[in-house]
């Protein structure tokens, strides 16, 4: 409305004529817009396009990997971006929650690749059958073109991998995430319904389990994603290329629970008879400390190396690379 007169039409225009409060707000906004237009004024730049193109073409870094597509930066793939971000964020939250049970803190000197499939990540979404997940602070995910840009968003410098494992593409994309806080609330009713759907009944609830809340804070985080990413083919997300190696760094996450301990919550969910093998495997996989490399300092690093997904079958096996990638 402020800089588009055509937007001031119909019911909005009639309301505006008779509402002093909205008139005042519009005036404030118009003043802001005019002031900012003046503040950001800059003289036009005269450019020599031919000379600039010659410089760009002769830059060694410009030798192209043409044809490569970054699915996460393509505006048209926004739903997939959100789904991808959500699964990564859920994985990060579960890593945080269940890693609290393991007190093994080691220095992040090496990266141990562990395969994770699309099916693994899809399975985690089944947790919503047993309660509700709400964000009290939504994570903002951003794909960056440079390490500096990712650092500016997250406040953390992306880690450097001195030597990539054999077979891992050197194509790197940077990603940054702001702080996120999520609350998982276990619901006996939802869990009971989920179990009943599978012909099972809910095991006796430990005291305080119903309504128990797990609050998890992660991030900010920054990561390098190696691999030639590819969008899913239509709805068949298994056809997407997952990253070959993800190296991430995050401020030490925290998890707190009410009514029951984090370990009690994990054990109870894993004990449910109707829980799918995929979800059980995913939770166990995420909770496996051998898949994580944590530092004891303020900033922690963890890595996952998802294999290229070619089927819906969950991967429960662990393949430890004989040639871990040293961190610079």
């Amino acid at each position: 409305m402020v800089d588009d007169p055509d937007a001031k039409a119909g019911a909005d225009a009639r309301h505006l004529e008779s509402c002093p409060e909205c008139q005042a707000r519009l005036k404030t906004m118009s003043d802001d817009a005019r002031a900012v237009a003046t503040l950001l004024a800059a003289p036009d730049v005269k450019v020599d396009v031919s000379a600039a193109f010659s410089r760009v073409r002769s830059a060694p870094q410009a030798r192209p990997a043409l044809g490569f597509r970054l699915p996460v930066t393509r505006p048209g793939s926004r739903p997939m971006v959100l789904a991808f971000a959500a699964t990564i964020a859920i994985a990060a939250l579960l890593v945080t929650a269940f890693a609290q049970n393991f007190k093994t803190f080691v220095s992040p000197n090496t990266v141990t690749p562990v395969p994770v499939t699309v099916a693994d990540m899809q399975a985690l979404s089944q947790l919503s059958d047993y309660g509700t997940v709400t964000w009290t602070t939504q994570p903002q995910m951003q794909v960056a073109t440079t390490a500096a840009e990712a650092a500016a968003v997250s406040g953390l410098q992306p880690p450097k991998v001195a030597k990539l494992p054999a077979g891992v593409s050197s194509t790197v994309t940077y990603a940054a995430m702001t702080k996120a806080v999520a609350v998982f609330t276990f619901s006996a009713d939802k869990a009971s319904a989920a179990e009943a759907k599978n012909g099972k009944s809910l095991p006796p609830l430990p005291s305080g389990m119903n309504g128990a809340q797990l609050t998890v804070a992660v991030g900010p985080a920054v990561g390098e994603v190696y691999g030639d990413l590819k969008r899913a083919n239509g709805s068949d997300v298994s056809s997407a290329n997952l990253p070959q190696l993800v190296v991430g760094k995050s401020v030490t996450p925290s998890a707190t629970s009410t009514q029951v301990s984090v370990k009690q919550l994990e054990d109870y969910i894993l004990s449910l008879p109707g829980i799918t093998p995929e979800l059980k495997a995913a939770i166990k996989a995420i909770g496996d400390p051998s898949a994580l490399v944590w530092s004891g300092s303020r900033a922690a690093s963890c890595t996952r190396s998802p294999a290229r997904s070619s089927s819906q079958t969950p991967s429960t096996s662990r393949i430890t690379s004989p040639d871990p990638a040293p961190l610079a």
Binding site: M1, V2, D3, D4, A7, T28, M29, D32, A33, A35, V36, A37, L39, L40, A41, A42, P43, D44, V45, K46, V47, V49, A52, F53, R55, V56, A59, Q61, A62, R63, P64, A65, L66, G67, F68, R69, L70, T73, R74, P75, G76, R78, V81, Q140, Q142, A144, T145, T146, A148, E149, A152, V153, T171, T173
Partner: protein
Amino acid sequence: MNVQAHRVSAVSSDDEAFEALFAAEYARVVGIANRVLTDPAEAEDVAQEVFIDFHRLHSARAQYAPAWLHRAAAHAALNRLRGAKRRQRRELAQAPDEDDRTLDPQKQLELNEDRRQVRQALARLAPKPAAVLVLRASGLSYAEVAQALGVGIGQVGTLLRRAEAALRKEVTSGTSN
């Protein structure tokens, strides 16, 4: 598909497509960076880095190419602005441009000081509000801003109004300190 995209997709090879994209978008990408940096030479550096990054990873035939370039230019320039060392160097070296030289020295000093304070305020904003201001001030339409930032076109007006209020507040607090 817009006219530029047609032009890019009509050419035969990837190299030709990139050259066509460069010719179509370079001045605009420089303009976005210069809106942030008010330093034409540094703005051209940023623009060239953005094109190099794009060329390394993407096909110039991609429909999203202009939106990607606009967004990357805004973010890259804002990141430079936030770099303390570079900012100090730029402020010291900032020479008056051709139009500014017609001003008397006192007005020139005031203009430079205003620009410095505005850019410092811009650097303190969160990335998204800063980018939406820069892109709109660089002449991008609401639709182009929406594409560049990956938001719905209906959100652009709201984002802009909030960002404008935030920038004015930052500028005011900066000058009152």
